[in-house]
């Protein structure tokens, strides 16, 4: 491979940390994309009997949770449990009620999520006693469950979709604004450039995070508003980088040739300047995505970002931080995913910067 992009790619391939980071990112992305369909739980499905389960691979409900769950269900069904016997994966129950056991109440058993549909084996005492067999479901919660008994792994992956989507979308918007602005300012130069970059300097001095918070507090938080607010903050770096590169490109021969051929300014910027800024843009964008994801989680942590029933890593971390004493795994799951993503993105950005730097080997 002899093109600069090809050389950079092969150099990137040789840096082991950057490749490891890329692999981690792809894995996290795939997990978030297809994971929620594989875990076997709906993200909103709550198991009231299995709240705040610790992380583990054992099948649920385990004996420790089975007893209390049955008690609660019996209370709801207005029956007494006379006999409970477990045979493998089925439970043989004898229910008793002086007013007669209402068969419709058997629906409570599958509705709890812990049991399959029950079979009635025998009816005695004119309906006052009922023997049934219920299959026990085998549920797995590798990361445990949250305060409401929802599967944490599924929720983390669904949250990851939102966090990653916002991170990519807001970065893309910031990238487009920044590249267009920086290339225009750098190419036109002179007074236009001075005014445009002066505006960027002014914007840099604004306490932007405060403005984002104000926006989200005053107007009801929504995904779109957050996207716009984050993009509005984050395009400044990109504009500066692209302008600096454009300034040096402007005097190059191929740009002069394009001008001599009579191409218009917009066409030169689009066809000749922008493609040549791609290297630094790629590096800046890779380092921009973790910043955006961090800002999104920060806003969601404060309750100003993603709102229920949607969830993001920031929301889950906020939930985990609230119950950190009782159930530290609630913080650990989403925090590890978020930090792994951010570290991988930062390392990938570093690797890209090294690979694109012509001075290094």
């Amino acid at each position: 491979m002899t093109s600069p992009a090809g050389r950079a790619l092969s150099r990137l391939g040789r840096t082991r940390t950057a490749m490891a980071a890329l692999i981690v990112l792809v894995l996290i992305g795939l997990a978030c994309l297809i994971g929620p369909g594989v875990t076997g739980h709906e993200p909103e499905r709550a198991y009231p009997d299995l709240r705040q389960l610790p992380a583990g691979l054992a099948a649920q409900p385990d004996p420790a949770h089975l007893g209390p769950a049955l008690e609660r269900l019996a209370f709801r069904m207005r029956v007494k449990l006379e006999a409970v016997a477990r045979e493998g994966d089925t439970l043989r129950l004898t229910l008793r009620s002086d007013a007669g056991v209402d068969r419709r109440s058997l629906a409570y058993l599958p509705r709890s999520g812990l049991f399959g549909p029950p079979d009635v084996l025998e009816e005695r005492d004119a309906g006052r006693s009922l023997a049934i067999a219920v299959p026990i479901r085998q549920l797995h919660f590798p990361l445990g469950t949250d305060v409401q008994g929802r599967d944490l792994l599924t929720r983390c992956l669904v949250a990851g979709r939102v966090s990653l989507a916002i991170g990519l979308a807001a970065s893309l918007v910031a990238l487009l604004i920044g590249v267009a602005y920086g290339a225009t300012a750098g190419f036109l130069g002179g007074a236009v450039d001075a005014v445009m970059m002066r505006l960027v300097d002014v914007l840099y001095a604004l306490p932007f995070v405060f403005f984002v918070i104000l926006l989200l507090v005053f107007f009801r938080p929504s995904l779109l508003l957050m996207l716009v607010a984050i993009a509005a903050v984050e395009w400044l770096d990109m504009a500066r980088v692209v302008r600096a590169v454009t300034l040096s490109l402007r005097e190059r021969d191929f740009v002069r040739a394009a001008r001599a051929l009579g191409l218009g300014t917009p066409r030169i910027i689009l066809r000749h300047i922008v493609p040549n800024t791609l290297g630094p843009v790629a590096v800046t964008a890779t380092l921009l995505v973790p910043q955006v994801i961090l800002l999104e989680s920060f806003l969601s942590f404060l309750g100003l970002g993603v709102q229920e029933p949607q969830t993001s890593w920031g929301v889950l971390i906020a939930e985990g931080a609230r119950s950190i004493e009782a159930a530290p795994h609630l913080l650990a799951g989403p925090a590890v995913l978020l930090i792994a993503t951010l570290v991988a993105l930062n390392l990938l950005g570093d690797g890209l910067a090294d690979a694109l730097d012509p001075r290094v080997g």
């Binding site: 403005f211 004493e325 951010l342």
Partner: protein
């Protein structure tokens, strides 16, 4: 030099005016008001309150009178903290945020620059390899994850340090918030110092000095002067961000600083308090950027020529 400072101060005025204008109209155009309580007030009482605070006048008149009182150095009364002016609240909150920020800045600068120098001087050494991943790691540790973890480890399990609170700024209450604030910046500063010093060490003057047999310590000192430029330029906005209080750290550790006042002000539609805190932050950002530029000019005589 004096002219440079004066020109920058003159440039700051339009920026501050823009901050005031944007935040003023942003807040007033937003739905809700400072007197929207859970139990609505009687219409007559609401009318009286609005008249007392001047909210019944046209928006543009209110803006004019706010600017006029700003020019006199009056930030107005707070809407939600009764009988207190915004200035009182800032005078109370700023020392908290500034103490935390200054300590965090000092810690981050010391550790970050130190590690960065060590890494640059010994390429491929232990510190250098540690920074390769370590810098990206500290950059990626959100304060809202670090803070609860520190609280669990040192507050609940080991019981060495309190979980939060200010208590007049006693050292034991400062440790965890300062560490939380400083941690991400250690990585950022170390990386910046390492890259910048590494570049300077490869330049011709430094290689010449080496070839002339100058002692390594002296060569390093010369190189550092140039290498610290981008670091100092980065410290300006960083100082502003740290000194004006981190919303998250102050919230998690229950510290009565500027960040907390800002969030409470925003939630309560306390127009004047929000304006006051935003203005303070913007002013500090501008002032500290200027200070960083001056420090750069002191480090690099070439920059003085432009000024």
């Amino acid at each position: 030099m004096i002219r440079f400072i004066l020109r920058r101060l003159a440039q700051a005025l339009p920026t501050l005016l823009a901050v005031v204008t944007v935040s003023f109209f942003l807040m007033r155009l937003a739905p809700g008001g400072p007197f929207d309580l859970e139990r609505p007030l009687a219409p007559a009482a609401l009318e009286n309150l609005r008249r007392v605070y001047g909210l019944d006048r046209p928006l543009i008149v209110q803006f004019g009178s706010y600017l006029a009182s700003l020019a006199r150095g009056d930030l107005g009364p707070s809407f939600s903290f009764r009988d207190q002016s915004v200035l009182d609240l800032i005078v109370r909150g700023l020392p908290v945020s500034a103490t935390l920020g200054a300590l965090a800045l000092g810690l981050a600068a010391l550790l970050g620059v130190g590690l960065g120098i060590a890494a640059a001087l010994r390429r491929g050494g232990a510190v250098d390899r540690l920074l390769g991943v370590g810098a990206a790691l500290t950059l990626s540790l959100p304060s809202f994850v670090v803070a609860p973890l520190l609280q669990i480890a040192f507050g609940l399990t080991l019981r060495w340090l309190p979980l939060g609170g200010w208590e007049g700024g006693s050292p034991s209450h400062l440790v965890l918030p300062v560490v939380t604030l400083a941690l991400p910046q250690v990585g950022a500063l170390a990386r910046l110092t390492r890259a910048s010093l590494g570049e300077v060490l490869r330049t011709q003057p430094i290689r010449t000095m080496r070839s002339l047999g100058l002692p390594p310590a002296r060569v390093t000192r010369h190189a550092l002067r140039g290498a610290l430029l981008p670091v100092v330029a980065y410290l300006g906005p960083l100082a502003a961000a740290l000194l004006t209080g981190s919303v998250v750290v102050e919230t998690i550790f229950g510290l009565p600083g500027i960040g907390r006042y800002f969030v409470e002000g925003a939630l309560n539609r306390d127009y004047t308090l929000v304006m006051g805190t935003v203005l303070l932050v913007a002013g500090l950002v501008i002032a500290l950027n200027l200070a960083a530029d001056l420090a750069c000019a002191w480090l690099d005589p070439r920059l003085r020529a432009d000024a």
